[in-house]
């Protein structure tokens, strides 16, 4: 029983990380109806920046903040420079550009930092928090950080004029343009925010999976699964999906298929959701007129 409880709690911790990355995917999907295949590699690249900063002696939380700012700028620049020219291109072109971005970020990280696996510091203490033994302090902290990020995002989109403008631009670009919202820049800001959220996910997961240029490929897969399970156009659904996938991955991995086939859990989930219920749990059904 204790083992099971530990699996569930550890699942919640990684689930929070998947939830963050899934949220980043959904934010871009809502605005552009595109799934960013390079989201994981962007997060990985930012995590390397954080690693460089902490290695240079910058205190963890300052490095954390600087990395989030860097990620935001990276996201905005990528949208403005690379994605904008193919905004209205066929799906295939956009997917090809995303894949191009993925391999460029991956190889540049490998070029600068080499492919050897690095350890990444955790900002949380070694001793168990509040005397809870089922879950490591880092997992506990990761859940906390995820929840803070989610709350901040919610507040931003719900209570600020800029958040409202961004939601409007995503929902109805034409009308938003008529009332004076600069839709193009709102998209870029959305990319920046998504990259920033992704970088938090990267920094939270790096102490668990260790830092190397390929560390996010599995995580990205779980995030895809999470976004799809929750409904790919529903941010709250993505968060729910993230936690669900995290727990499922751990429990099914520990008791059903064994740790060697954990990634296949994500594969099966993705295909099952897409084939059986493409809208996920909370997605909206899209009806198109033929």
């Amino acid at each position: 029983m204790e083992g099971f409880l530990h699996q569930v709690l550890a699942g919640l911790a990684t689930g929070g990380i998947y939830a963050s990355l899934a949220l980043a995917l959904v934010m871009i999907y809502q605005a552009t109806h595109l799934v960013n295949f390079a989201q994981g590699e962007m997060a990985m690249f930012c995590t390397y920046i954080a690693w460089s900063l902490t290695n240079a002696g910058v205190p963890y939380w300052i490095a954390f903040l600087l990395t989030v700012v860097f990620a935001f700028i990276l996201g905005v620049v990528i949208e403005r420079v690379i994605i904008r020219p193919v905004e209205n291109a066929p799906v295939l072109s956009v997917v090809v550009v995303f894949i191009g971005l993925l391999v460029i970020l991956n190889s540049v990280a490998g070029w600068i930092y080499t492919y050897t696996i690095k350890t990444f510091p955790s900002p949380f203490p070694e001793q168990p928090i509040l005397g809870i033994r089922y879950v490591s302090p880092h997992e506990f902290g990761a859940i906390g950080v995820t929840l803070v990020v989610l709350a901040l995002l919610y507040a931003f989109f719900r209570f600020t004029p800029l958040g409202l403008a961004m939601r409007a631009a995503a929902q109805n670009p034409d009308s938003s343009r008529l009332v004076g919202i600069r839709v193009g820049w709102m998209l870029a800001l959305g990319w920046g925010l998504a990259a920033a959220v992704g970088s938090v996910a990267g920094m939270m997961v790096a102490p668990i999976v260790f830092l190397d240029p390929n560390m996010m490929s599995g995580i990205l897969l779980y995030a895809f699964a999470a976004a799809l399970v929750g409904g790919v156009d529903n941010p709250a659904g993505a968060v729910f999906g993230g936690f669900l996938v995290g727990v499922l991955e751990n429990v099914v991995g520990a008791y059903v298929v064994g740790p060697d086939l954990k990634l296949s859990v994500a594969l099966v989930l993705i295909i099952a959701v897409l084939v059986i219920k493409p809208t996920g749990f909370f997605g909206r059904v899209h009806v198109t007129r033929v």
Partner: protein, 324 residues
């Protein structure tokens, strides 16, 4: 085919036959691999270029083909040439079956599902339940075939000619398929599936059949690749293999038959050149070419050559005296 195209093809064939006698055996081996890749690229191009179904997981079918050949040769002592059709048939079936649920997925979602397949593939191959056949992480080592009938050529040269023969057969078949009724149906579904159905095209059937045939090409290519490299192991079939194939069709030219050859030469030789710079450089180059081609040359090398030839022909016509 025009007379000029026939002459061009004959010259190309003569060049292809002469090459292994003038270059080193390592270069011959590399050319063999380029031939092998060209079959995969033709198969992937049928699915993605002609039919508009994006696959980021074609490494899976390549792996199935490779393992078919390796297991048949290693465990059952089947001669190498007999494994090729078996790999083709197995992949045709698997591809057709995978194509059935994939019918429900449009554009982006199919890309997502196949990407997931590509990422989790090495783990699936390493699965403990099947490592009696697959050899687990260790993979399978197979022996290189000797030239038959006592031909006075080396093993590498023989393998090159063997692959060349398979390539010719597959390209002739592919060309006939794509130029015929089914090929036109594929393109019609890509461009407007509703209109295609209204014209009487059985969209579901054509789409899953395309998936099957595409997988068959890839599987045959995988079997040839395994025989050429003499080794299969799970980690060589990672998601970057699938991405390499995508690079190949984008660079070579989407929806073009000759593009498969250009793409294959690109993915075989460019990494070798870039490798001198850094271990990561080939992928940086691949990424830049992917994005650059999408912006500047969306029809790939084949499209650029076609446009260049058309321009020369036009100029020749204009400069002729009396032409308006």
């Amino acid at each position: 085919m025009s007379k000029r195209a026939v002459i061009g093809l004959v010259l190309l064939l003569a060049l292809a036959c002469a090459l292994p006698f003038v270059v080193s055996s390592y270069r011959t081996f590399q050319l063999t691999l380029a031939l092998v890749y060209s079959i995969t690229l033709l198969g992937l191009n049928m699915l993605t270029g002609y039919n508009g179904q994006i696959s980021l997981g074609h490494g899976a079918f390549y792996a199935i083909g490779a393992y078919c050949a390796a297991i048949l040769m290693d465990k059952y002592g089947v001669p190498y040439w007999a494994t090729i059709p078996v790999a083709g048939v197995v992949c045709l079936l698997v591809g057709f079956l995978f194509g059935l649920p994939a019918l429900r997925l449009e554009g982006l979602y199919l890309a997502l599902a196949t990407f997931a397949l590509g990422v989790s593939l090495p783990q699936l191959i390493k699965y403990k339940g099947i490592d009696n056949w697959t050899g687990g992480v260790q993979g399978i080592v197979i022996t290189k075939p000797d030239p038959p009938f006592g031909l006075p050529i080396s093993q590498d040269q023989w393998l090159y000619f063997f692959c060349l023969a398979v390539v010719i057969v597959m390209f002739v078949l592919g060309r006939n398929l794509l130029r015929g009724r089914i090929g036109r149906a594929m393109v019609a579904i890509r461009d407007n599936h509703i209109a295609a159905e209204a014209m009487g095209v059985n969209s579901a059937m054509v789409k899953s059949l395309t998936f099957g045939v595409s997988a068959m090409y890839t599987g045959i290519s995988g079997a040839l690749g395994a025989i050429a490299i003499q080794f299969v192991a799970p980690d060589s079939f990672n998601v970057f293999l699938s991405i390499t194939f995508l690079v190949g069709i984008v660079i070579g030219g989407l929806a073009s038959i000759s593009g498969a050859l250009y793409g294959a030469l690109f993915i075989q030789f460019v990494p070798n050149i870039a490798d001198d710079l850094s271990k990561a450089a080939p992928w940086a180059v691949f990424g830049m070419f992917l994005i650059g081609f999408m912006y500047l040359m969306p029809m790939g090398v084949a499209g650029a050559i076609r446009m260049g030839l058309a321009r020369i022909a036009r100029r020749a016509q204009n400069s002729r005296p009396g032409a308006a």
